[in-house]
């Protein structure tokens, strides 16, 4: 079937498939970041419940380093901010790709519609 299509439409279909894959990959990244945000929020709640002089440990690669409640909260808040920025950037990319996807879809439908007439 695709052999009968003009090369331009074939190219657009290939682009459409590529964009669809990119959107799926972004959507997976987005859910991973959202899960990390939820985990950070829960960890922060737990840290805030601790006594100010509580002994806290932080995983660093294979090591576990002793730290304090205050330092851990600061680190976790920084991480939350980074995650939120990454999420914003992914959402923007997703929006751009979705709009390109719709544009291509319309172009292909138009091209196929013209052929059918």
């Amino acid at each position: 079937m695709s052999a009968e299509l003009p090369p331009q439409v074939q190219n657009q279909i290939a682009q459409l498939q590529q964009i669809q894959q990119q959107i799926q990959a972004l959507s997976m990244q987005k859910s991973q970041i959202e899960a990390m945000q939820k985990e950070s929020k829960m960890a922060l709640e737990e840290l805030e419940r601790l006594a100010d002089d509580a002994i806290v440990y932080r995983n660093v690669g294979e090591l576990v380093i002793k730290t304090s409640k205050g330092e851990s909260i600061t680190k976790l808040k920084d991480r939350e901010e980074t995650l939120s920025l990454r999420l914003q950037s992914i959402t923007r990319q997703e929006e751009r790709l979705t709009s390109r996807f719709k544009q291509l879809q319309e172009q292909i439908q138009q091209a196929l519609g013209t052929r059918a007439e």
Partner: protein, 143 residues
């Protein structure tokens, strides 16, 4: 007729998307369920250790060194537990506080699991609705 097959193709594509999302959700639900089970097992272990080291006794145990092999060990203080708080942080707590934290975590996970279950039901209902719609379109006389 061409319109009907186009509609069926669209329904099939949406059905496939629902199926993909439902499958991903099921996998995540299995992971959440595994975490809940792990919380339960940890609570049992902490309680058992508390009993074994009650009244100043030193609990005798074995530490795994890999490949099903162990070395003997004694738990010096079963009342100090390092509990995972998530995001790579852990805190030292008493056994009772550790159990409290684990129970809280279990409650949170159970709520998440319930929310996921609702989403899964929505996906399955969505799939069923699409199947009914497709069946109607395929009925003779409808096409």
């Amino acid at each position: 007729m061409a319109g009907v097959s186009e509609d069926i193709r669209n329904l099939a594509a949406r059905h496939q998307e629902f199926q993909r999302q439902a499958e991903a959700l099921r996998q995540q639900m299995n992971m959440v369920q595994a975490s809940i089970t792990s919380c339960d097992q940890t609570i049992i272990t902490i309680n058992e250790l508390k009993t074994a080291s009650a009244e100043g006794k030193i609990a005798e145990t074995m530490v795994p060194v890999g490949f099903g092999s162990f070395v003997h060990a004694e738990i010096k203080n079963a009342d100090k537990v390092i509990v995972d708080l998530g995001s790579g942080f852990s805190a030292e707590k008493t056994a009772d506080e550790a159990i409290e934290t684990l129970n809280r975590r279990k409650e949170q996970l159970t709520k998440i699991l319930e929310q996921m279950n609702t989403s899964l039901t929505n996906y399955l209902q969505g799939m069923q609705a699409l199947e009914t719609e497709a069946a109607k379109l395929q009925q003779p006389g409808q096409a």
